[in-house]
């Protein structure tokens, strides 16, 4: 088991949970856009700013793409996307796969780190997730799968 956290703001004691969703879909690339739209319409209930919404969509897209590209490189597997939001405007999105896992999460989260050899990946996915959210937590077990939790506090939450 390997895990790591990138945190910008100190985690606040979370408020009352107001709403949640969960979706399970196969690791097909057409579902990258689907996952973004689903997350965006869920988060829209909180009246986010344009840039907050764009940040969350980008972070979710990174996590879901990683499942498709890395967790299940030669097969189609299951991706679970779930979300919650709280009374204080905090949004928590989780992306889980049951794919190949990451041996060393800390190393994988370094900017420019990629195991891709095709020259078409920049190794910036985790860096983008960390920069566009307040908190990024990744935990993984080799051969069992990976779980990515993205937390962002929206400014319009009271």
């Amino acid at each position: 088991m390997s895990s790591a956290v990138i945190e910008k703001k100190q985690k606040r004691k979370t408020d009352r949970e107001l709403n949640s969703f969960k979706a399970v879909f196969p690791s097909r690339s057409a579902n990258e856009g689907f996952a973004r739209m689903l997350t965006a319409s869920f988060v829209s209930q909180l009246d986010p700013t344009v840039s907050e919404l764009a940040d969350i969509k980008t972070a979710v897209s990174e996590a879901v793409t990683n499942c498709i590209v890395h967790a299940y490189p030669d097969s189609v597997g299951e991706i679970t996307l779930s979300g919650k939001y709280y009374g204080d405007g905090q949004v928590v999105i989780t992306v889980k796969d049951k794919g190949k896992g990451i041996e060393n999460v800390k190393e994988a989260m370094q900017p420019l780190y990629t195991t891709d050899s095709g020259g078409e990946r920049s190794g910036m996915g985790f860096t983008v997730m960390g920069a566009f959210c307040d908190r990024l937590r990744v935990s993984s077990r080799l051969g069992a799968g990976t779980s990515v939790t993205l937390t962002k506090k929206l400014s319009r939450g009271e």
């Binding site: 690339s29 990258e32 990174e62 793409t65 498709i68 590209v69 020259g119 990946r121 920049s122 910036m124």
Partner: protein, 106 residues
Amino acid sequence: MHYTCQTEGQRLTVTLYGELDHHGAVSLRSELDRLIERERPRFFALCLSEVSFCDSSGLGLVMGRLKKCASVGASMVIREPSVAVEKILLLAGMDKLIKIERTERV
């Protein structure tokens, strides 16, 4: 994801439309490479004003084409990145690797 292209002398300009994610990038990269191979431009401009979404797969697409251009002796620029594209380009420090051309927004 779709694109249009335009050649003016030695300059090939490709404008991308839509969401530049992994799904969109997969088919696009080989099409762009074929286009660059065929046209052999001196200058290759990738216009990103109509791209409404871009994640690190989009960065990968840009970096891959930068390498492709270098391999055929073309110099590449990015033109008019939309707000969505610009944020991630700057986060990744791409402005240090590739020239970004913008016309002044009034």
